[in-house]
Amino acid sequence: MKQDPDILPVRPGRTPREARTPTELTPAEENELAAAKQGKREWVGPGVTAYMLGITKETLKKRRQRRDGLVPEHREATSNRGGTKYRWSSVARCAGAERLQNDVLAQRLEDVVALLVKKGIAVLGADLPWAFDARGRLVGLAVFHPGLLAAPLSVLEALEEPWVSELIRAPYHAMAIEVLEKSKAIVLTSREKWLDYPT
């Protein structure tokens, strides 16, 4: 369809702004992120935090207010200017956990467990988002409990925590044992190959 030359594509008097994705950083936030990465900042604002988690500031705010999902350690705003601040070390852990969760996202727990086993022994030390109930007991991976508060923990750290029950904990325990067994099998099978070498 041909455009009428009398109709302007944008409203008059307003310069078109470049489209920015919801998680894009402002120049000030870019500086804030760089400083945090260099260890010069302990606390960062919601813009940097949301960017690291790959979500919008609105989503981050909703998570915090509803205590629902992965929220880094934070301190509430003391003034309108200051805003809520998030501890950088916690932001970095949550971001890693969020990434790994997205990486192994699957419908069923068994599928997620199978994907984690495939990642090998390093997965036991990798952060994942874990959901807690009101008593602070673990209930499983946050992806299966969207209504609960979550925290980033490595698989081994999570299995050290109190759970709602051993039954709920069992699949994750079995996964960790399977990872250990596979790792042991890899190095022991390799040993068989080198037994013929002169000592």
């Binding site: 090998g120 022994i121 390093a122 036991l124 030390g125 008593r135 081994l156 299995l159 050290e160 109190p162 759970w163 029950s165 051993e166 904990r169 325990h173 960790a176 044992i177 250990l180 790792s183 042991k184 890899i186 190095v187 390799s190 040993r191 190959k193 080198w194 037994l195 070498y197 002169p198 000592t199």
Partner: protein, 115 residues
């Protein structure tokens, strides 16, 4: 060789090779020099290195034992955590449902004996 924990076990290390076979870990203090001088070196985690060809079983054995020791320690810790969880479950069952924040019901109330 000593491997402290999982983080140490999955850390990427630099391994020295002779004739394409591993002889051991390149000393960390000589890493930069090794980069320049030792063209035949490889970067790998301990697990990956153990799957590669070694000059001898004797050279490989201390690394293997260090790795297996970490696996055993992790397994022991996991089993201990499971035992703690079982004890916690048992405590809760013995304490009764009201301890878990549920509303207690009088015995026999649901089978019609309660007036």
């Amino acid at each position: 060789m000593q491997v402290d924990d999982l983080t140490d076990a999955v850390r990427v290390r630099r391994w020295a090779r002779v004739g394409g076979k591993l002889v051991g870990e390149a000393p960390s203090t000589e890493l930069s020099a090794a980069n320049e001088a030792t063209s035949d070196a490889v970067e790998a985690t301990l697990e990956e290195a153990l799957a590669l060809p070694w000059v001898s079983a004797a050279a490989r054995e201390p690394h293997l034992q260090a790795f297996l020791s970490v696996l055993r320690r992790i397994e022991t810790a996991l089993e201990a955590a499971r035992t703690r969880q079982r004890a916690l479950d048992l405590d809760e069952r013995l304490a009764g449902p009201s301890e878990q924040g549920r509303v207690g019901s009088r015995p026999f109330a649901r089978d019609g004996r309660d007036p």
